[in-house]
C-alpha cells in the first residue's frame, strides 16, 4: 500500500507566543517526510478545528509553554463534535504532571515533555497518523 505522507497540523492555542519548540518540531517532522501545516501562535480552538478539517490532517500537535494546555480538552471535544474524532491530538511542552491525566482523559493521545528526542517524536507522530487513518477508514469516527 502506497500511503500518502502523514499530514500534521502544528499549532499554538491561547495567548502564549513562545514558538521555539514548535518550529523545531515542524522541521523534524518535515525532515521525516511528513506534511506539516504550521500556524502562528494565538489560534482559537474553532480556527484549529476548521483548519484540521480543511487540510484533512491526521494529527494535530499543540505546543504549549505557558499554561495554554488547559484549553486542549476544549479542542478535543470540538474536534469530536465536528466529526473529526479520528484525528489524533498530541501536546508538546510544559504540562504539569497533575494535568497529564486530565489531558489523556480528554482524549489526548500523547504528551511530549521537554527533553523528548527527535526519533521518539517522529516515530510516535507517524504511528498516531497511521492510527488516525485506520480509525477514519473504519468510519468509527473516534
Amino acid at each position: 500500500m502506497n500511503a500518502s505522507p502523514p499530514r500534521i497540523l502544528l499549532t499554538k492555542i491561547g495567548f502564549d507566543g513562545h514558538d521555539r519548540g514548535s518550529r523545531v518540531v515542524a522541521a523534524y517532522l518535515r525532515d521525516a517526510g511528513m506534511e506539516v501545516i504550521y500556524t502562528g501562535p494565538w489560534q482559537s480552538v474553532e480556527a484549529v478545528v476548521k483548519l484540521a478539517s480543511e487540510e484533512d490532517v491526521d494529527v494535530v500537535g499543540v505546543s504549549s509553554l505557558a499554561s495554554d494546555h488547559v484549553l486542549v480538552p476544549k479542542l478535543t471535544a470540538a474536534l469530536r463534535e465536528a466529526g473529526l474524532g479520528h484525528v489524533r491530538v498530541a501536546v508538546g511542552g510544559i504540562v504539569p504532571d497533575e494535568d497529564v491525566a486530565r489531558l489523556l482523559e480528554a482524549g489526548v493521545s500523547r504528551i511530549f515533555h521537554p527533553g523528548s528526542r527527535r526519533e521518539e517524536i517522529c516515530a510516535e507522530v507517524a504511528r498516531l497518523a497511521k492510527q488516525a487513518r485506520a480509525a477514519d477508514v473504519a468510519g468509527s469516527g473516534s
Binding site: 507566543g17 513562545h18 502562528g40 501562535p41 494565538w42 495554554d68 494535568d99 521537554p114 527533553g115
Partner: protein
C-alpha cells in the same frame, strides 16, 4: 577585527610553550575540536600569545570610563550591589500584592510586574476564556487593579520594572495610581521592560500588540514622554533575552540587540532628539545561559562595542550615554524537567556569569520553571541564591575579577568580532526594522535553534539528566499549575464589571475618542493620551482595542 598583539619579552616562553604542547599532544589522542555555542573554537590553553597587557589601556581601561570593558561604574557591585529583581506575577491583584511584599521582605530590592498572558495579548479579563486567567501572571486591567497590586508598596522609593509592551498601559495605570496617591512622577524610577517591539515581532510574539509602524511610533512617543515627564524612568530596555531564548546563539543575541538599539537610536535622532540625552536612558536585558565563559565574554564584548557605537555612530559625548546598563535573567531554556533540583546548579552557574559579566540587576529562575509557574519554595531558593553569591561567596567584592585572564580577554575579543559581524549583516539588510520585516532575523534564529537541538540529538551537546547521566525515578513528583481559585477569578470579573459600571461614562468615551484621534494624527504624543485615558478610568483592553482599530493588530511573521 585584527589587532596586533604587542609581544612581551618573556625569556624562555617559547621553549616552555613548545614543551607543553608536546606533552599535551602526548596525553590527548584524536581530540575533536571544541566549540562554544556561538561557534567559536575553544583551545585548551590561552597564554600571553593570545592576549597580554600591552593592550590594557586601549582594550580594558578602568571601570566607569571608556572603553567600559571592565564595567560602567567606577565602583560597580562594591559601591551599589546589583538589584535583585525577581519576576513576580500571579493570579489576582491581591495574590500579586501578597507575593510582591514577600519578595521585598526576603531581600528583593526592586518591584517587577508580570501581567497575565491575556493582558499581554491586549485583553481585559472579561474578553477571554476564564480558564486561562491568572495562571501565568497577574490580572491587571484597571487603575483599581493597579492600586491593589501596589497596596502598601512604596512606589516612589523602589525601582519598578514593568513587563509592559506598547502601548505601555501598565505604566499609564501606575502613573494614574501615583497621581491619586499624591506621589510626584519625578520620584518614580524604573524601566519599561518590554518596549523593544522588534524583539517581540521576531521572537516573543506574545508581547506584540500593534502592527509594526504603530509600535514604532508609540515607542518614540513613549521615549519623548519620559524625557519630558519622568526623569527617573528608562523608557526602553532592548531585549536580547527573547532572541536567545528563541534559539539565537549568544553572539547573535547580542548582535541583534545592539542592531535594535541602533535602530531605536536612529529613529530618536530622526525626531531631532539629542543622543546625549536619550542614550543614557537606554537599558538592555540579556539571557544568561550556562555556557559560562561565553556569556561573560558576550557581556564584556557587547559592553565595549556599544560604547564604541554610541561614540562613533551617534557622536555621544556624555559619558553617561556610553554606559551599557543591563538586566540579566538566567536562562529558562537551559532548565530541564528531568531531575529538576539540578536546575538550582544551572541557575547558580548562570548567575555567576551574569555577576562576572558586570550586570546591574538580576533575576534568577526558580528550579521548577520547566515544570510549571514557580512554587513559592522554588522562588525563595532563587532569590537566596543571589544572596549566597553576594554575602557568602562575596562575588561582588572585586570589580571585573576575570579581567586580564588570557582566556577571558581573548574570548571577549573574539565574541566582540562575531557580534560586530552580526551587526554588519543587519546594516547591510537596511537596519533591524527592515531585517525583521523581511524575516531575515527570524530565519537566522530558527536555524540556530535547530542546530542546537541537532547537537543535543547527536550527543555533541550533553544535558545532564536528558541525554546523559539519566537516573531511574528522576521524574518530578506530581505538580500542579498554580491556578487562582475559580471564586477569586469570579470575584475579579465581578470587580471589573462594577468598575466599568461606576465610571463616568462620558469621560471614558471622551478619553477613548481622543486616543483614536491622536492615533490618526501622527504629530501628537500618543502615549500622553494613553496616560490620560488610564486616569479617566479607561481599561487596558479598551485602550488596546481602540488603538488596534487605528494602528492595526500585531501579528507575527510566521517563518517555519
Amino acid at each position: 577585527m585584527s589587532r596586533e598583539l604587542v609581544q612581551l619579552s618573556l625569556p624562555g616562553f617559547d621553549a616552555g610553550y613548545e614543551r607543553w604542547e608536546e606533552a599535551y599532544q602526548a596525553q590527548i589522542v584524536d581530540e575533536a575540536p571544541r566549540y562554544n555555542r556561538s561557534g567559536l573554537p575553544i583551545k585548551a590553553l590561552y597564554t600571553p600569545r593570545d592576549w597580554n597587557d600591552g593592550r590594557y589601556l586601549e582594550e580594558l581601561g578602568f571601570p566607569g570610563d571608556a572603553p567600559m570593558t571592565r564595567g560602567i561604574y567606577p565602583s560597580m557591585h562594591r559601591g551599589r550591589s546589583w538589584s535583585q529583581r525577581q519576576l513576580v506575577g500571579l493570579g489576582t491583584p491581591e495574590d500579586y500584592n501578597r507575593r510582591l511584599r514577600e519578595v521585598l521582605a526576603a531581600g528583593g530590592t526592586a518591584l517587577s510586574l508580570i501581567p497575565c498572558n491575556s493582558v499581554y495579548r491586549g485583553f481585559d479579563a472579561d474578553q477571554v476564556d476564564p480558564t486561562l486567567l491568572g495562571t501565568c501572571g497577574a490580572v491587571v486591567n484597571t487603575i483599581e487593579d493597579m492600586g491593589l497590586c501596589l497596596r502598601e508598596v512604596p512606589v516612589g522609593r523602589i525601582s519598578t520594572s514593568l513587563n509592559d509592551p506598547s502601548p505601555f498601559t501598565l505604566l499609564a495605570l501606575l502613573l494614574a495610581v501615583a497621581r491619586r496617591r499624591g506621589i510626584d512622577w519625578k520620584s518614580i524610577t524604573g524601566t519599561s521592560n518590554q518596549g523593544d517591539y522588534l524583539s517581540h515581532f521576531v521572537a516573543n510574539h506574545m508581547f506584540f500588540r500593534l502592527a509594526l509602524p504603530g509600535a514604532r511610533r508609540l515607542l518614540l512617543d513613549h521615549i519623548e514622554f519620559a524625557n519630558r515627564e519622568l526623569p527617573g524612568w528608562n523608557p526602553v530596555s532592548v531585549v536580547g533575552q527573547h532572541m536567545q531564548q528563541a534559539g539565537a546563539t549568544p553572539a547573535q543575541a547580542m548582535g541583534f540587540t545592539l542592531a535594535s538599539a541602533i535602530q531605536y537610536a536612529e529613529d530618536c535622532r530622526g525626531r531631532g532628539l539629542d543622543p546625549d540625552e536619550f542614550l543614557p536612558r537606554f537599558t538592555f536585558f540579556f539571557d544568561i545561559s550556562v555556557s559560562f565563559f561565553e556569556e561573560i565574554a558576550k557581556l564584556r564584548g557587547g559592553r565595549r562595542l556599544w560604547g564604541r557605537i554610541v561614540r562613533e555612530r551617534f557622536g555621544a559625548r556624555n559619558p553617561r550615554a556610553w554606559r551599557f546598563k543591563f538586566h540579566a535573567q538566567t536562562s529558562g531554556a537551559d532548565l530541564t524537567r528531568e531531575q529538576p533540583l539540578n536546575n538550582a546548579a544551572r541557575v547558580t552557574t548562570q548567575a555567576i556569569a551574569a555577576i562576572f559579566g558586570g550586570h546591574q540587576s538580576l533575576h534568577t529562575d526558580a528550579y521548577d520553571e520547566a515544570l510549571s509557574t514557580p512554587t513559592e519554595t522554588a522562588a525563595r531558593v532563587a532569590i537566596q541564591t543571589q544572596n549566597i553569591l553576594r554575602e557568602e561567596a562575596r562575588l561582588g567584592d572585586v570589580i571585573d575579577p576575570l579581567g586580564g585572564s588570557y582566556y577571558v580577554e581573548t574570548l571577549t575579543d573574539e565574541m566582540e568580532a562575531l557580534i560586530e559581524a552580526v551587526i554588519t549583516r543587519i546594516d547591510e539588510a537596511g537596519g533591524m526594522y527592515r531585517a525583521v520585516e523581511a524575516g531575515l532575523v527570524q530565519r537566522m534564529i530558527g536555524e540556530s535553534a535547530l542546530a542546537f537541538q541537532e547537537r543535543v540529538e547527536c550527543g555533541e551537546q550533553l544535558i545532564v539528566g536528558v541525554n546523559a547521566y539519566r537516573a531511574e525515578g528522576q521524574e518530578a513528583g506530581a505538580r500542579a499549575l498554580p491556578r487562582p481559585e475559580p471564586a477569586a477569578i469570579d470575584a475579579q470579573l465581578a470587580r471589573l464589571a462594577r468598575f466599568k459600571a461606576a465610571r463616568d461614562q462620558a469621560n471614558v468615551r471622551g478619553a477613548l475618542d481622543r486616543l483614536a484621534r491622536c492615533a490618526e494624527q501622527s504629530d501628537q504624543n500618543l502615549f500622553a493620551e494613553v496616560v490620560a485615558a488610564a486616569g479617566a478610568g479607561v481599561t487596558h483592553g479598551e485602550m488596546v482595542a481602540r488603538l488596534r482599530g487605528v494602528l492595526g493588530d500585531g501579528q507575527p511573521l510566521v517563518v517555519a
